[in-house]
Every structure is written in C-alpha cells, then in structure tokens.
C-alpha cells in the first residue's frame, strides 16, 4: 500500500517497521516531526528529552538493554550530543542504535549552516543519506540492520528538503524483532582508557569492513545515461536537483551511503565519461574523497559552498540556457517572521527596548525580539549562551551589570541554560537572567517540555518548578512576574539590576497559541492621536488607515499591551 508521507514521517514509519521501540529526541527544525510521528505508533515509546545529549544517552541506554533505539536531532543538536555519540562508536551497540541528523541548507530555521557529514568521519560512524521519502523509510530500516551487523551506531543524514517534502511511500508491516538479551560486558561498555584502546581497534576494523560493504551496496546506485559525456556523483536532495538539471543524457551515481564512500564505482564512471561532476550542497565532502583517490572531478570550483542548489544553478553549469524571469514589477516589501498577536514575549521586549538594556539573547520565538521595531537583543549564539555569555560579559565589564540582562525561554533554559546559571552563582557575577516561561517549546511547533505538565505521548507529567530550581542553584533573588505586566517587569528589573548578586526574573504566561491561553476581548480604537507609539510593540494586529491606528479584530488576542502603551487611552477593550 502507498501512502503520502513527509520525509520525516517516512523515517518514523521506518522506525516502526524496523521494530524500534525506543525514541528519545529534542525538537529542532527540520528534524522534529520524526519523533512526533513516531509517538503515534503504540509499539514505540517516544519522548522529548531535555536536550540532545540526554536524548542520545537515553537511546544508548535502551540499545544497551537490547532494544532497537533512535534519537533524532537537527544539525546543531548533534553538536550538543557529540560527546556520547563519539564514544558510543567505541562501545558499539546491543540493540540497533540509529541517530538521525537533519541539516538545514539555506538556513531556513537555523543559526548556522554546518555540514554534519563531517561528524561521520570524525566519530567513525557510518552515515546513510536518503534522497526521497521512500528512501527515508528504507534507509532507516537498513540503518538498524547495519548497526547490529557491524556493532556501531549509524547516522541517517537528512536535510530540510528531504525532511519536509512529501512523496509516496510503499508501506508494509513490521517483521517481528526480538529484543536482544542484556549481557554485562564491561570491556565493551565501560570506556576506561584500558578498555577503550582495544575498542578503538575494533572501530577501525569494522569501518574497513563497512568500506568493503559499501563498494557493492545497492544503495549506491549507478544509472547510465544515453551519452557518455557527463557523469554526476551525488547524494540526497542534491541528487534530485542534479538529476533534473542534467537530464537523461548524463550518467549518475546516487550515493545512499556517504560514509564510508565507495571508490571502485566512482572510478569506473570517471573512466567512462568525459567530465565528472560532484554535486553536493555545503562542503566538498564527496569531492575530497574522490580527489584523495586520484579521481578528477569538478565540484566546488564551479559551485558555491553556500545555501541550497536550485535546478537553474545546475542547468547553467550543464551549459543549458536558463530563461530570464525577472519582471519589471514593484519589489514587494519583505515579510520576516514576527511574534504572534498575544505573544507574552512582546511586552518583555518592549520593556527591554524602552530601558535600553544590553541583552544577551537565546534561541526560540523570542529571538524575534531582535527584529525591528522591538530591536532589543545584542547577541544570539546557541541554546543556553544567553546565560553563560552574560557571565563572561560581566566579568570582562562589571560595570555593565547595571544595564545588562540575559533572556532565555523555558525549554532553552532546561536544555542548557541551567548549567550557565550555576556557573553564575558559583563564580559570582551579579547577572540578571529573565526566563520567559510560556510553558511550551514554541519555536519548533509547541512540543511539551518539563514545565508543560504533559508528555509527548499526551500523558500527565509533573511540572518542574523553575523558582525552586533556581533557588536550589543558589540564586537567592528569584521572582515571578506576569508577562503582560510591563510596569511590574520594569520595576522588578530596576531592583534586580541594582542588586549586587545574581537574580532570576521568571516571566510567566502561556504561549498565545496553546489551549490554556485565555483570549481577551479584541481592542478597539477611539479618538486616536496619531502618535503611533503603539506601533513600536510590533504587533501584527495593529495597522494604520491614513494616519489612524486600527486593530484587526480577527487577529487581536486582547492582550492589552497596546492599550498600556497608549498615553491617551485611545485603545480600549472592545465589547
């Protein structure tokens, strides 16, 4: 039976058909839906972990216990999970262990554009790369087989256009897989130096075996074209773009396994065609492999290491003409993403902007507070850095403590902000940290987290008490402010910034897109004085007709922020 599936949904189907019973992940675009879809299968236990390192370690534990286990993450998530993953390459697995890592070429929803294929080399873990939804399912199943056969974790590398494209997938029912016995084996699983050295030798050995295996593996397929002029070596989404652009005349190798890489089939193709291209987005990973084996190819000399490749770019490379499609029309104004109407983050950033504070920011919906008109962020690096970098900033410039804050979301705080906070307490900086507790992981699509009160499987869960947690870390000045109470926040900030010790202010209010959000009555405007002060809060529900402010009744959530900003009392609660 065929079913329409996103790449991520097909990976989840592969988990189900492979008899995987344990999934632990942390959300991150474009990987998130794998775990969401996996949680729909009754036979799979699936959870949102607190971060990727925790998730990968949990999956390792399940594998140790004999279950087939999985963890999915975005590219930068693998940076967080790298520590356990590198050493899991040495221990190997009991039940199959598969880790999906989704790159984001073009940076649709990410802070960098790293090429995660390098992790396969660095950690000595084999990596598969599907090129459509069907392969997402098939390769996930194969990854479990390889994992158990070669006693190693296996990566499945995805990308935005594979994860988020729909295609037809032939589905089947799982063949029964018995969990493996748990057998204590300290030499294999206790990675002391003495045990690690022989394990490293094991790794080198099975990687060599995998090198042989991939030479003849049918996931590395060759397709001969009608001519012998052009050959293309490619993988993943880049293969699809190349296949379209170079057409039926060219010959192709589609690499399903990108680490280790085969040599013989590429050599054969190189001998039979006049020009051999390597088409790969981001770095020259396959190209370097070819050159190392003396195969001359054209790759990054002609193509950019930046962003996604489009069919037009490759057509130009293939020497085809590309139509000029620029029209002499008005260039439409840009439409960047914005904080939603009713978003509890908006008031916070309008206060930070008003107080002209230096703000170390973090990653989440609230990063949108960096954009105009709120424009209240000085830095955003990676998850957790708002807290830890604020500490460094204050150590280098203690005088800035009176006008600097760190801003971090609830999920991000629990992911990796808390260690930074402990560091602030331990190493004594008078930092002020704002935790924006909207009780959900907003940016990635509202995944529950430890302050939400329920789990991925929609079961009730205890709520982590952030106040108690921060006090437990040794922060004595902890207070909670309603995120819509801008005066309260301003007063709190004045006091906490003046204090010579660490403080945490928890801004609490549910995300406007969750069920528990209480919608107020939409605002109406009477006797507008045209000062436009309210527009500085950047609410999409406010607009002007001529010079007069109007409130879009279908968008307004009645949060009242604009009413508080208006000095003339012109924006009123509607009936």
């Amino acid at each position: 039976m065929k079913k329409m599936m996103l790449g991520n949904e097909a990976v989840a189907r592969g988990l189900y058909e492979a008899g995987c019973t344990f999934v632990s992940s942390y959300p991150g675009t474009p990987s998130t839906e794998i775990t969401q879809y996996a949680s729909d299968y009754v036979s799979i236990y699936a959870e949102w972990a607190t971060n990727e390192k925790v998730a990968a370690e949990a999956a390792f534990g399940a594998s140790l216990a004999g279950a087939r286990a999985f963890s999915g993450m975005k590219h930068v998530g693998l940076n967080v999970a790298a520590d356990p993953v590198f050493t899991a390459a040495y221990t190997g697995v009991n039940g199959g262990l598969v880790i999906a890592v989704a790159d984001d070429m073009g940076m649709h929803s990410s802070q960098n554009e790293q090429d995660s294929r390098h992790y396969a080399v660095a950690s000595k873990i084999p990596m598969l790369e599907p090129s459509d939804s069907q392969e997402c399912k098939d390769f996930t199943k194969l990854a479990f087989e390889l994992s158990e056969k070669f006693d190693t974790p296996v990566f499945v590398r995805l990308s935005t256009r594979i994860s988020h494209s729909l295609g037809s997938v032939e589905i089947s029912e799982p063949a029964p897989v018995e969990p493996r016995e748990y057998v204590k084996n300290t030499q294999k699983y206790v990675m002391t130096p003495a045990n690690g050295r022989p394990r490293h030798a094991e790794v080198e050995k099975h990687m060599e075996e995998l090198g042989d295996w991939c030479e003849t593996a049918d996931i590395n397929s060759v397709e001969w074209g009608t001519e012998r002029k052009i050959g293309v070596v490619s993988a993943g989404i880049a293969y699809q773009t190349a296949r379209e652009a170079f057409g039926d005349k060219a010959s192709y190798i589609k690499l399903g396994m990108i680490y280790p890489l085969p040599v013989a089939i590429i050599q054969e193709l190189a001998e039979k065609v006049e020009t051999l291209y390597v088409i790969e987005e981001l770095d020259d990973f396959i190209e370097t492999h070819c050159k190392k084996h003396g195969i001359s190819v054209i790759g990054k000399a002609e193509l950019s290491p930046l962003g996604e490749y489009t069919p037009e770019m490759l057509r130009r490379l293939a020497g085809d003409s590309v139509p000029d499609v620029t029209h002499t029309i008005t260039v439409p104004p840009a439409r960047p993403p914005v904080l939603c109407p009713g978003c509890p983050h908006r008031g916070v950033f309008s206060v930070l902007n008003k107080m002209k504070l230096t703000v170390t920011g973090d990653i989440g919906c609230y990063t949108l507070g960096a954009a105009k008109p709120l424009d209240a962020m000085d830095m955003c690096l990676c998850m957790g850095a708002s807290v830890s970098s604020l500490h460094g900033l204050l150590k280098a410039r203690p005088e800035m403590a009176r006008r600097s804050v760190g801003v971090i979301g609830d999920s991000t705080f629990l992911h990796s902000g808390i260690t930074g906070l402990i560091n602030i307490v331990y190493n004594r900086s008078a930092a002020t940290v704002l935790i924006l507790d909207n009780s959900i992981t907003g940016m990635t699509g509202h995944q529950p987290n430890p302050v939400s009160g329920f789990t991925l499987k929609k079961e009730a869960a205890p709520v982590v008490n952030l106040e108690v947690l921060c006090r437990g870390c040794g922060v004595e000045r902890v207070r909670v402010v309603d995120a819509f109470d801008m005066e309260g926040l301003e007063a709190a900030l004045k006091e906490e910034l003046a204090a010579d010790e660490p403080s945490v202010v928890i801004m609490r209010r549910p995300c406007a897109l969750v069920k528990t959000f209480k919608k107020g009555s939409p605002r109406t405007v009477e006797d507008c004085k045209k000062c436009k002060a309210c527009l500085r809060v950047g609410c999409p529900a406010l607009y002007t007709v001529g010079e007069l402010i109007q409130v879009d009744q279908s968008l307004c959530m009645g949060c009242g922020l604009c009413s508080k900003i208006c000095r003339f009392g012109a924006i009123k609660e509607g009936k």
Partner: protein, 189 residues
Amino acid sequence: MTNIVISGVGGQGSILASRILFALYETRGDMVKVSEVHGMSQRGGSVITTVRAGKTVYSPLIPDGEGDILIALEQIEALRYLNQLKPGGTVISSIQKIPPMPVLTGAAVYPDNVFDEIRGAGFKLITIDALTLAKQAGNSKAANVVVLGAASAALGGTDAEWDAALSAAVKPQFLDLNRRAFELGKTVI
C-alpha cells in the same frame, strides 16, 4: 510535468492546500512531490510551497520560470513569487492584504496596484475574495480551500477526483466546512 506554486503568509494554510493537491494528482496516476515549509517562517513569515506532478518527479522544487499556476493566499505573496511562473502562466490570488511588519512600522509601503502589475507582466489573473467566502462557509480559516476552488478549473480534475482529494487530506471533522469552502470558491469562475 505540472508545476504549482502556493504562496502565502505562515499560518494561512498553504500546507493543507498542497496536501489536497498531492492527493488530487496522485489519484490521477501521477508521481507527486511537494515541498512544504515548516519552522521559523510559520510565525507570520512569507511561505512558498511547491507541488510537482508528472510521470517522474525528481526535485520537489520548481525551476524559476516553469510554474504553470501560482496560487496566492495574499496579494503581495503573489507578486513575490512571479519569477516562479512560466511566461503567460496563471495566477489565482486571494484579494486579502496582510501588511508585513515593515509596512506596519512605516519602513515600507504596501503596493496598491498588485493585480495591475501581475496582468501587466503578461500573466492571466483570477482574483477572489476568499476571506469573505470562507466566513460564509463557516470559518475564515478555510480561505485556503476557497482559493483552491477558484483554481480548480485551471488545475483540472473532475468533481469526484476533487472530492476524493479533499477527503484524503482534510481531517474528517473539518471536511464539510472545506467542501462548502471549495464549492464557494468554484463560483467565481
């Protein structure tokens, strides 16, 4: 190969529209691929979704200048992706205007002659008051399917195929609403 571009603002329902089209072309025996947008731009940013159907589809993305039909759920989002369309291609656009933040803050202006520009560039244009019709159907959220109704003649497909596609892609509890929205959309042509 049939190439359809769906553009709009994050949250307007371009994903559902593209999934209905996936089901439509699949029931007609085509291979189909759709590239969706999830993530940051769903927070009110500009989004483009592409649908490709034919004997064999490789890339889910449409090369510039090869789109047959552009379905726009918002006016300037039609203008923004015209480069995707082939010369003389068809635009079906909602007349809804959602001013983006730079317009709201006064840093940019919302162009007032979007449809003249589209016609002037040589494209066929069908416009529809999708929001009003969606409200008439029972919920403003169904504006996406109203526009699909308006596009249905250009897209092809029999009544039975469209109904099968709606049933396949829409959650059962919203099916009647979306059927009404689709029928109202069809009335503009």
